[in-house]
């Protein structure tokens, strides 16, 4: 007989994973200080100190690497480590003297230390061609190519403020890129192609019709098959129809590509959270290193770094200087695509004569 099936136990209780210094000072931390890029100390009311060494990862990790991290944690941290909300590893130590050796070993293994303070941390990203069917571009590849160039900003803290880059491979935006300082977003740019023979077998037509935000999909009989047709002019390539119906193919090797968005943020610090706004509508896919995407991101960051004031996130800086100036400084062309035309478009029009001339 099989053992009794265990279900619904939920995740393990986090308490068992906390290092003793945390258990002791839980909720009683007094302050922290970033000692140098990637290294910070938290000081408890008790005077106890907890050192954190942060290391960048590609997020996609082999268990080989994870085991190596476990070994390192055993060696320097009594086996304690955590991951951050942006896919970095944090080694947790109480013995300050072990920090340098720890860093050396992590770097030796090929992982950089940094991502703390006013810097570029890891790029939150998604599956891309590695695992998703919807991807308009690869995630891991673009991220790698971009981060190779942004490494200095990961390893130092010389930016005006934190700069969060995120990547999502389609409009589903699993990376929730919509509130990032810089968002790189895979986009489809052609209406889906319908496989009429498969459609009736695989999909419910009413659900499919209802899935389209712009009402571009209509039931239709094609070659005697009950199927749908898509009004090309009404399609804005969101891919939602594909999500609900595999027979509606949105991926297109020729016309898929990447768009770039800027000025979003999440924190409530200083100004309210903001959505990212369109900077570059379209750059064709150019694997393996997407040089045009990398250049565009680097250019925007350089202009920002040169012009923004201390503590000013990308979006705060742009709001201060105005969007016309942003386009001027970055040499990006303002096109008809930049003007919103979705439901609340009218709310984005400039309804004041307050203008720089």
């Amino acid at each position: 007989m099989a053992e009794e099936r265990i279900t619904d136990i939920g995740p393990p209780n986090y308490e068992q994973f906390l290092p003793p210094v945390i258990k002791k000072n839980y909720g009683k931390w007094d302050h922290h200080e970033i000692l140098k890029p990637g290294v910070m100390v938290h000081v408890a009311e008790s005077g106890d100190k907890l050192f954190t060494v942060r290391c960048g990862t590609p997020r996609l990790l082999a268990i080989t690497s994870i085991r190596k991290f476990a070994d390192i944690a055993d060696k320097y941290c009594d086996g304690h480590l955590r991951w951050t909300s942006r896919n970095n590893v944090e080694f947790l130590l109480t013995d300050e003297s072990k920090i340098e050796a720890l860093i050396a070993e992590v770097e030796e293994y090929g992982f950089p230390i940094g991502g703390m303070g006013n810097c570029i941390s890891n790029i939150v990203h998604t599956q891309g061609w590695v695992h998703c069917h919807s991807a308009a571009s690869d995630a891991s590849g673009t991220v790698k190519a971009v981060m190779d160039e942004l490494m200095p900003h990961f390893q130092n803290m010389e930016l005006p403020a934190k700069l969060r880059v995120a990547y999502a491979c389609c409009l589903n935006m699993c990376g929730a890129v919509h509130c990032s300082d810089i968002a790189i977003l895979g986009v489809h740019t052609r209406a889906p192609v319908i496989e009429h023979d498969d459609l009736p077998k695989m999909c419910e037509i009413p659900t499919l019709v209802a899935s389209c935000p712009t009402g571009a999909i209509r039931p239709a009989t094609v070659d005697g098959v009950q199927s749908v047709e898509i009004v090309d002019e009404q399609c804005m390539f969101c891919g939602n129809c594909y999500t609900v119906c595999p027979a509606v193919k949105i991926n297109n090797a020729q016309t898929d590509g990447i768009s770039i968005w800027v000025g979003g943020k999440v924190s409530n610090a200083r100004v309210a959270p903001k959505f990212s706004k369109l900077a570059i509508p379209f750059i064709p896919n150019n694997p393996p290193r997407w040089p045009e995407v990398v250049d565009a991101v680097v250019k925007i960051i350089n202009v920002y770094a040169e012009n923004a004031r201390k503590h000013e996130r990308m979006g705060e800086w742009i709001d201060r200087i105005g969007w016309p100036k942003f386009f001027e400084l970055t040499d990006i062309e303002f096109t008809k695509y930049h003007i919103d035309d979705f439901k609340h478009a009218g709310e984005t029009y400039m309804r004041t004569a307050q203008l720089r001339h």
Binding site: R5, D148, P273
Partner: protein
């Protein structure tokens, strides 16, 4: 290193450069045929500029509706080892704390049942096991639960909640994010594992308005720590900061309500106008701290663009006590009221944020049994299209 089955000149380019390479990571597990084929198929995508995964396909654990994302190759003849290459979402411990032992346990389990490739972590917060076959789904699950792990969410259910590091390491946590996250996850195991909502519902717990888990943008329910009373000020420490920080320019001028005054000696905060943005505290962590009367703002309705456009969460309860001893009863009650209403009236694939916009916030509140308060809006309505009831004559 293992010999590679396919030539991958394009992917090989991504082994170069200083940032750690996902290609190297994949090759580290290339002793498994499945990983060889995953690499081969990915190279093909790089050549052809297109994904070679097929759409969805329902697979899963017996009795669960979520936690496994089915994935099939559209080139199964060429890459038979990834004909099926499903991911497993394993519910992470609160705030992603591990011991080396726990990590090794996870690695061992994954080694036994899948590709050995992971995402640490998925965007929602799960430990993502990347790639196994349909046959391995049940054995993997049994192995996981035996070792104290369980699957996270996918489909139209509560998704795996996540939280910031909070009181475990952060001096600013206004409530216990780790405990709240764990408690809510345990409370709603059924809702996590068995899809019965109109669409997904995500919880994220941030200890303060810095929102280090991006809860306001990435969850349907953001539980954001905050405080009611006065910012704790250590004036001596402020004086110390004044040596390196231009307090006027860096703090007073950037305070959203300009409620901080600095005369070169004393920092005065008009706390009645402080909107708890955290900025001054962020810049002078040794001198300033959140107040002592702490709790959380509950915001709801955040989501990505599909279908009706992206939304940030909006204020639902301006201030809620988050006392551990209360077992988060208030939050649970509110949550159940929301789920009941949305569950009954929400359309298929309509997130709660879109639902609220469709039925109107006021109607939504009335049904949930919450009074409208001005904190819920940036400003009252400007259009005069008001649905008046008879009660205006009372």
């Amino acid at each position: 290193m293992t010999e590679m089955k396919y030539k991958t000149p394009l992917l090989d380019e991504l082994e170069k450069g200083p940032w750690p390479s996902f290609v190297k990571e994949m090759k580290k597990e290339a002793h498994r045929p499945m990983v060889q084929d995953a690499i081969g198929q990915l190279e093909r995508s790089y050549e052809e500029h297109i994904s070679h995964w097929k759409h969805g396909g329902l697979v899963g654990v017996m009795g669960y509706g979520g936690g496994v994302i089915g994935r099939y190759s559209d080139l199964p003849e060429e890459f038979p080892e990834v004909a099926a290459f499903h991911t497993h979402r394993v519910n992470q411990p609160s705030a992603w704390f591990y011991t080396s032992e726990a990590l090794r346990t996870l690695c061992d389990i994954w080694e036994r049942h899948g590709s050995g490739l992971t995402n640490m972590h998925g965007s929602t917060g799960d430990i993502v096991f990347l790639g196994s076959t349909t046959e391995e789904i049940e054995p993997l699950f049994a192995d996981l639960t035996k070792h104290g792990f369980d699957l996270g969410g996918s489909g139209s259910n509560m998704r795996t909640p996540s939280c910031c590091v909070g009181p475990a390491r952060c001096e600013w946590a206004c409530y216990d994010t780790l405990d709240a996250c764990y408690n809510i996850t345990q409370e709603f195991q059924d809702e996590l594992h068995r899809p019965f909502f109109p669409y997904k519902y995500k919880f994220k717990f941030a200890g303060c308005p810095n929102d280090c888990v991006a809860s306001i943008a990435r969850s349907d329910c953001s539980v954001m720590g905050t405080w009611k009373d006065e910012i704790q000020v250590n004036q001596a420490a402020v004086l110390d900061y004044a040596k390196t920080v231009d307090i006027d320019a860096e703090i007073c001028d950037l305070c959203p309500t300009r409620c901080v005054e600095w005369d070169g000696k004393t920092l005065e905060i008009d706390n009645s106008n402080c909107v708890k943005c955290m900025h001054c505290i962020n810049v002078m962590p040794k001198a300033l701290k959140p107040g002592k009367e702490r709790g959380a703002t509950i915001l709801i309705g955040g989501k990505a663009p599909i279908i009706g456009g992206a939304l940030l969460c909006s204020v639902f309860v301006p201030f809620l006590e988050m006392d551990k001893d209360s077992d988060y009863e208030d939050l649970k009650e509110l949550t159940e009221a929301i789920w009941d209403l949305w569950g009954e009236h929400g359309k298929l694939r309509e997130r709660v944020g879109e639902f609220i916009q469709r039925v109107g916030m006021s109607n939504f509140l009335e049904e949930i049994g919450l009074d409208p308060v001005p904190e819920m809006v940036m400003a009252p309505r400007s259009n005069p299209y008001i649905f008046f009831d008879d009660e205006i004559f009372e």
